[in-house]
Amino acid sequence: MGRKSVIQANSPSNADTGKGQVSDTPSLDRGQIRPEPALAQKLLEVRDLKTKFYTVDGVVNALNGISYSVDKGECLAIVGESGSGKTVGVLSILRLIQSPPGRIVGGSIFFKGIDLLTLDDRALREIRGGAIAVIFQDPMTSLNPVMRISAQITENIMAHERLTHVQARAKAVDLLAMVGIPTPAKRLNDYPHQFSGGMRQRVMIAMALSCSPQLIIADEPTTALDVTVQAQIVELVKKLQAELGTAVIWISHDLGVVARLADRVAVMYAGHIVETAPVDELYARPAHPYTIGLLNSLPRLDARTKTKLQAIGGLPPNLLGDLRGCPFAPRCRFATNRCREENPTLAEVAPGHAVACWHDELTRAQA
């Protein structure tokens, strides 16, 4: 019963409020699940973000109104099925969506109170690589193959700081040393192909750190790497985050890595955030049937008793065209007619724990 009132009080992804969202001011806390004191301004606050791709096959609804926030120094992990919109969700923050065919069609993205979607190109460029930096998934293809590492790092530094070329190079050497590249001064003049995958990802991290960002967006930075190298990178990021106090958005589909790194987790499915909770809460008391299914379908490395894996049946969703009802309904054990008709909105079920499911009481009782 308590649930209903929450929905009416503030429902961030209600379809009928979607249009007016763009012009909303930061003082309105519609996107927040719980009203908070005005003092605690979030570092990043995404509200009802909608991104579509206008392709020859039709409109791909990649983001269908997602809302979330990141605090200073916090690590938010975004997990979800391939194609659920994780990458599009974070690239939209810096307006790095390939356009055409992509377009952000609604919502707002407040970074320290400024709506990034209304910034002009110049102001946006100051934030890109400055206050917000990105680390991409594939270190093999994310560096320019014909440009020296030195040039690739210094161009980032010099775009944001008034330094001479020599100073920028000196800084680049420090950065490479900081991310654990041996003999950094020598390696500076190398080309990307002279580095291993793990080393390239370190270079990407050095680049991301170069202008002391307040937020680092890491899009599956270890997926392409071996587990032993992944462990090196995860520990490096964890250490740097603690030292520098940088907030991190870490996209991953590895729930183990997320358990290691994250403070809070957002679970995405078909362009929606279906659940968000502090990391311990999410793993201990998952409430959305998709999250529950995801956790049950993982074998535990440390588990001796062999319980049969509980697979989620059915197929991943198709984002082409309009969806009706809960996007997970076709694969959901709990789905009812209501689920197939009406899209559930995120509602808080415990402090900081919000779920978009009509039957969360039922699912939590079963989990």
Binding site: G129, A133, N156
Partner: protein
């Protein structure tokens, strides 16, 4: 170093192949003795003809003839021109500067026009400037060069009388032949630049560059363009061949006193030594240019430099 040696060997093979073809030309058309003597043979006795055959060495097996041909050719001896009564090599080398001049001007012209045009249309795909450039490229690629040459002559030479129709001597003379020769490379390089730019524009590292907050101009020139030039460089190597080969037609149309025109007239007068000398010298230059292009490629692309 290994790389250079390998490329040198490959170039040698190309030149070797061309020399065989140039040599074989004479035999493919029939009995070389009859071809060379032409109608003249009617007035000669069988013994005289046989004498001529022996004098020219046509009585020996073909591989012996080829070996002696190559042996002399490496020393720059392609035999005598029957028409000009001077060594065939000198006939060709006399005309070489004019051909190189025309090819170079066309080459520079093609790069100066095609790359900026390709970049422009890649920056605004499917917008008016891109459409216009695409249509122009289509015309440039499909119109035969003799036809374009004649059109130019009619328009600028005959109608407007802005430019000299034929010959050489002043800078005005080179304009129309250069445009004629460059039309196809311009069209092709423009399309290549465009598609390669569009391809690289979508690469991950370009997204990385944008995420750094550098200006869009820098993204395009420092990241996209440099990578896009790689496929272009390969095509430019082939283009050297096209420019040299294309000069045969263009030089003939515009009366440009180069190797191409010389070869055509030598074919007409069955002056095969000159034809052979011309074809082989052009092939040598072509191989040389390609070698330089390959070295340039390895200079632009660090991955190649280190792999070998």
């Amino acid at each position: 170093m290994r790389f250079i040696i390998r490329r040198l060997l490959q170039s040698l093979i190309v030149v070797f192949g061309v020399s065989i073809i140039a040599f074989g030309m004479l035999f493919m058309t029939g009995d070389p003795t009859e071809i060379l003597l032409g109608n003249g043979a009617d007035h000669m006795t069988v013994a005289q003809i046989q004498d001529f055959r022996v004098k020219m060495g046509f009585d020996r097996p073909w591989y012996v003839q080829y070996a002696s041909f190559v042996g002399k050719a490496v020393q720059g001896d392609f035999g005598y021109s029957f028409v000009r009564h001077e060594p065939a090599y000198e006939v060709i080398m006399d005309k070489m500067p004019a051909t190189i001049q025309l090819a170079s001007v066309a080459f520079v012209l093609s790069l100066l026009v095609s790359i900026p045009l390709g970049v422009l249309s890649a920056m605004r795909p499917h917008k008016p400037i891109d459409r216009i450039a695409t249509v122009l490229a289509l015309i440039g690629q499909s119109i035969p060069s003799f036809w374009l040459g004649i059109l130019l002559i009619l328009l600028f030479g005959v109608q407007l009388k802005w430019l000299p129709i034929s010959g050489s001597g002043s800078w005005q003379h080179i304009i129309m032949p250069a445009i004629t020769l460059a039309a196809f490379p311009i069209a092709r390089n423009m399309r290549l630049t465009r598609s390669s730019m569009l391809d690289f524009m979508q690469r991950d590292f370009v997204r990385t560059a944008r995420a750094k907050g550098i200006s869009e101009t820098r993204v395009v020139y420092a990241h996209v363009l440099r990578n896009s030039l790689l496929p272009l460089v390969t095509s430019i190597g082939l283009e050297a061949g096209f420019l040299l080969g294309g000069s045969v037609i263009t030089e003939t149309i515009f009366g440009w006193p180069g190797v191409g025109r010389e070869i055509v007239s030598a074919i007409g007068s069955k002056d095969f030594n000159v034809v052979q000398a011309g074809v082989i010298m052009l092939a040598l230059i072509f191989a040389g240019v390609n070698l330089i292009i390959d070295l340039a490629y390895s200079w632009i692309d660090p991955r190649i430099r280190y792999d070998t």
